[in-house]
Amino acid sequence: MAEAAFIDASSDADGSLLRVGGAWTLANAAALDAAVGRIRPEPQRPVRNVEAGAITALDTTGALLLIRALRADCKTLEQHTINGLNAADEALLRLVASRLDAPKPKAERHPSFRRMLERVGAAVSSIWLQTRELLGFVGLMLATLVQVLARRKKLRVTATVFHMEQTGLDAVPIVALLSFLVGAVVAFLGATVLRDFGASIFTVELVSYSFLREFGVLLTAILLAGRSGSAFTAQIGSMKSREELDAIQTLGLDAVELLVIPRLLALLVMLPVLTFIAMVAGIVGGGIVGSMALDITPGMFIARLHEMTEMRHFWVGMVKAPVFAFLIAAVGCLEGFKVEGSAESVGRHTTAAVVQSIFLVIVFDAMFAMFFMKLHV
């Protein structure tokens, strides 16, 4: 298709004559477009005759350009005589001409200030809507949970145990490893600061307080939000997009009872268990750093821990675990139910679930901190 194409305009008796030839194809489109632009017909002297015998190849792009050359407004071919074009190419030309009648729709453009206002408004109203939806869903979950506990609805034991394995047991290695590492880092951090005051022994309190009260539960909750909350959204969301949820409903089953309660119960049980593991792993991490870098022997570490750390710190951390579990399960399942249609929507809602549940976990943790501070525990 390297063959060149040409176009010549010349005048004859009854209007201007156009001579065209060569390969009128997409490959030559740039050159042809420039050539057609040069001979753009004037309204008072329209092209009447076209001598097209020299055309060797014509495709839709060529046809489009040829029609452009004939009339600036790209309309009908009726006023033109086209000579020398073979039947197939002429049919193509007519087809293209017949499809150029509709005007191209213009994309709507608003001024940027109005767009900004629009987006701000949409964001604010979506926060309100999301909060309302989440509160409604929490209510639905609680109501169903009560019905399950009152034996008015069935408890799906197999599903619950399955989810306990998936969200709990399978997460033990990652939770333990991460907490161990963070515990070691906190101990190092404390040691560097406390050594200057000759108070490196307080590293024990630093590690134990922070892990029992905050880090154990917070690390676990954030990990599970990323690991299980997103999985809940993806599982329920892909069921929704394949109409499985509709099938559940038409079979007379309750999607909340069937899908949400097992996941909720699994998290309610497993998040405290994992939190406990995280606390132990973090303190062990701190202890190992202490014995290796700070001359605090394991024996001293344990004795100090036993002596100085009260049980209430453990309960302060532990009591938050079921709350976070509830938040993660609620957000994860709700986002799954909000999926519509496409696979893209599943991905978008999975991301939203992780972001929202981590956000809520941290907000609630801050509120707990203030609450416990006022209570002096």
Partner: protein
């Protein structure tokens, strides 16, 4: 179409297997220039795998595919790209890029391969959209806002963006209502005649076979058991063909048969 026409695709001894499950074995097929070839076969017979092997989405385990005179089995990427510009593929559900409007979807290959003025690219893309029978308003919509039939047409518009010589269609009429399917058949026939296309059509739809196909290739038992004009294929003694072409659906399709495609003058 006479069998004397140029062979644009030549498949010889093709073998495809997924693990121990053999899809194709010793599969031979020719596609001639200017014809509409319909490929039919039972579910899981490997129609789509054949299409994917020919266009290079799947490397065959054995065999040779000659595409427009070039062996594609051991091709360098540049050569493959040159070939890829010369065919268009319409996927089952359009496979449109969901973050782009229909118009932008059709513009993608044009912008990628050619340096053309913006307004010309826009106009070419819009023409392709109109050629596939979509209303003008559809151009600025996103794929998610279109119906299944419109998405297929938009997918066809993108496949036609570079004015290909060969058009591959994967189940173009599946999921369409009978009226929509007939209209799509007609569209393919019209475009094939006007744009001088060779069409490779994978289908389940007997109506399409009768309405627009010049030849029909039947895949059964891992290879092409028959490839000829439909009147000849339906007389074949292969058990799958007998079952397929003598069932009630085939009889309906036969009686409804009307030449949709006007012969080229």
């Amino acid at each position: 179409m006479s069998a004397r026409a140029e062979t644009v695709i030549e498949v010889r001894g093709l073998r495809n297997a997924f693990g121990s499950q053999v899809v194709h074995d010793q599969l031979d097929l020719d596609v001639y220039r200017g014809e509409v070839l319909g490929v039919i076969g039972g579910s899981g017979a490997g129609k789509s795998v054949l299409l994917r092997s020919i266009v290079g989405l799947k490397d065959p385990d054995a065999g040779r595919i000659v595409f427009l005179g070039q062996d594609t089995t051991h091709m360098r990427p540049e050569q493959r790209q040159a070939i890829e510009r010369r065919f268009g593929l319409m996927f089952q559900d359009g496979a449109l890029f969901s973050s782009l409007t229909v118009l932008e979807n059709v513009k993608v290959p044009l912008l990628e391969y050619f340096k053309l003025p913006d307004d010309l690219v826009e106009e070419i893309a819009f023409l392709k959209i109109r050629l596939t029978g979509l209303p003008a308003e559809a151009a600025t919509k996103y794929p998610g806002q279109l119906s299944g039939g419109m998405r297929k047409r938009a997918g066809l518009a993108r496949a036609l963006a570079l004015d290909p010589e060969i058009l591959f269609l994967d189940e173009p009429t599946s999921g369409l209502d009978p009226v929509g399917a007939a209209a799509f058949d007609e569209l393919i026939a019209t475009l094939k005649n006007a744009l001088n296309l060779t069409v490779f059509l994978v289908t389940h739809d007997l109506d399409s076979l009768y309405a627009i196909c010049d030849r029909v290739a039947v895949i059964s038992d891992h290879h092409v058991v028959a490839a000829d004009r439909i009147e000849i294929v339906e007389q074949d003694s292969d058990p799958w063909i007998r079952e397929c072409f003598q069932g009630p659906r085939a009889r309906n399709a036969q009686t409804r048969r009307q030449p949709v495609a006007p012969a080229r003058q």
